[in-house]
């Protein structure tokens, strides 16, 4: 790979599952055989353009450092990490809510009244911002996965987490108490690459926007 190869960082997981089918039939379709293998750098249908498959939380770092020139990542991750990169478009898919969730029967007033509120979350920055707006204090319990277990097992009184359909919450006896924000997939670009080579990156960015906005 040379510096002439353009790298687009795609997220693994929930967003990745949604976006890979949307690229089928476009010039940026990912090589099906490579996708079945364990390689994380996947050729696309356009020579000189390859895709990196990365964990969402790592993806902004690759783009901000200019290793990948473009990327797609949830706005929740962007807001938490606050990396120096460009956010060229809201692609509209992968929409979900960042919500305060607690066990059925526990209301927002119950949580507000707790002298020592404990909130488990993967989103400490957004949670702290909400607590500041509300004039509340809480102990933040940082978790990296399966936050739904925390209220059930007594690790926390409630969680702040992403909710898409609410199915996982329901399965754990939790309900959304308050929506703190909304998230969707964003097209991001490396600041340096985009500002120094817009003629090289813009057509690719426009292709991605068209691919994701055209499909339901």
């Amino acid at each position: 790979m040379t510096h002439q190869t353009l790298l687009i960082a795609f997220p693994k997981g929930r967003l990745g599952d949604e976006l890979v089918p949307k690229l089928v039939g476009t010039p940026l379709a990912l090589d099906a055989n490579a996708l079945k293998s364990r390689v994380l750098r996947i050729p696309t249908a356009t020579p000189g353009v390859a895709a990196l498959l990365l964990k969402g939380a790592d993806l902004p770092r690759y783009v901000a450092a200019g290793v990948a020139q473009l990327g797609i990542v949830g706005s929740d991750t962007l807001d938490e990490m606050d990396m120096d990169l460009l956010e060229l478009a809201d692609l509209g898919f992968g929409a979900c809510r960042l919500s305060l969730c607690a066990q059925t029967g526990v209301t927002l007033d119950h949580l507000r009244a707790k002298p020592h509120l404990r909130l488990a979350t993967k989103f400490p920055k957004a949670t702290e911002a909400w607590l500041t707006r509300e004039g509340l204090t809480a102990e933040l319990v940082p978790l990296s996965s399966s936050a739904e277990l925390a209220p059930l097992l007594g690790l926390a009184d409630a969680i702040v987490d992403l909710v898409q359909t609410g199915g996982t919450l329901k399965a754990h006896g939790l309900v959304e108490t308050l929506v703190l924000g909304r998230s969707s997939a964003r097209l991001v670009a490396a600041r340096g690459a985009y500002l120094s080579e817009p003629k090289r990156l813009r057509p690719l960015a426009e292709l991605l926007i068209a691919a994701f906005r055209a499909t339901p």
């Binding site: 200019g66 956010e87 490396a190 985009y194 500002l195 120094s196 817009p198």
Partner: protein, 322 residues
């Protein structure tokens, strides 16, 4: 979040030689245009901003020089009854990095063009742009891109709508990310949301040649910004005929980096494929009045540490060394 692990790179033979050669060539260029060197102390005792490298000298908290422009402004405001018109500088500044790949110790060469308040600044702005245009050739960069912006294009509409503080900061951050949808989100419910979003879309519409200025004609603030647009237009007309063959000129209307500092035209030098700008500057007419001096100023700084990194990682962007 600032990076807490300090990164102090040692320059080995090739980089050290290149640094010495570039410093000499750039200072020679500035001297040939009437700029005289000032060398402010490495240790500063003024109000110390966040991110500086601080330590105690006895009972006094001091810091290593973190910015030449600020250090020179303090020196000039304290010691000179009238400003020298042209000042140059070369050396290292020390700042805690925001991004993990940035070094704490950064080598810079730069210049300041200072005038009494009230004098026309157009010629001074052009002088700096012409100097910056000569720099890729001095450094042996095969090709470069000069971005021309104007801080007033963002600042004036925000001030006209009474937007200050956190909300104005949120709009500036959204523009810095080139994200019109974020501008819309930040202004949700504000009476000027529609106008300011339309203006943001006009600012972000293009990143290209001189025709980019025309995008502002669709802005609701086109009339408010007429004088600033005319200033940019005149600058473009003066600079385009003398553009060196290896330099591309782009108008970047949404350049908001350093918006709290710059008040007028801004200049940024890039190389194709570089991850960071290689030189940056502009007009900052509030700096000296804030220090009690009725002077206006503009200048730029060539970031030699970034150029050294670029020469290591992308030698193909430079002419071979003699």
């Amino acid at each position: 979040m600032p990076v807490r692990t300090p990164h102090f790179p040692d320059l080995l033979f090739g980089s050290a030689a290149r640094l010495r050669r570039w410093e000499g060539a750039l200072m020679g260029l500035l001297e040939a245009h009437g700029y005289r060197e000032l060398h402010p102390s490495l240790v500063l005792r003024e109000a110390l901003p966040e991110g500086t490298l601080r330590f105690f000298d006895g009972d006094d908290l001091v810091a290593l020089r973190w910015d030449f422009t600020v250090a020179l402004a303090g020196l000039l405001a304290r010691g000179f009854p009238a400003p020298p018109a042209r000042v140059s500088y070369a050396g290292a500044v020390f700042r805690r990095p925001v991004q993990p790949w940035e070094a704490v110790e950064r080598f810079e060469v730069g210049c300041e063009r200072i005038q009494p308040e009230g004098e026309s600044s157009s010629e001074a702005d052009l002088e700096l742009a012409r100097l910056l245009m000569a720099i890729p050739g001095v450094l042996g960069l095969k090709s470069a891109i000069l971005h021309l912006g104007h801080a007033a294009l963002v600042r004036r509409p925000l001030e006209a709508e009474g937007l200050f503080g956190d909300l104005a900061d949120a709009v500036v951050v959204a523009l810095s990310r080139r994200a019109p949808h974020r501008v819309r989100e930040a202004l949700d419910g504000h009476p000027a949301a529609q106008r300011l979003t339309a203006h943001a879309e006009a600012l972000l519409a293009e990143l290209d040649g001189p025709a980019t200025l025309e995008a502002l004609q669709s802005s609701p603030y086109a009339e408010l910004l007429k004088a600033d647009r005319d200033h940019m237009d005149r600058a473009l007309k003066a600079l385009l005929p003398i553009l060196p063959p290896n330099l591309e000129l782009r108008v970047d209307l949404a350049d908001v980096a350093g918006l709290g500092f710059y008040t007028g035209p801004t200049l940024r030098l890039w190389a194709p494929g570089a991850q960071q700008e290689l030189a940056a500057g502009g007009r900052y007419d509030r700096l000296f009045p804030d220090l009690g001096r009725p002077w206006q100023a503009a200048g730029f700084c060539v970031r030699l540490s970034r150029l050294l990194d670029l020469a290591e990682t992308r030698p193909d962007l430079f002419e071979p060394l003699p």
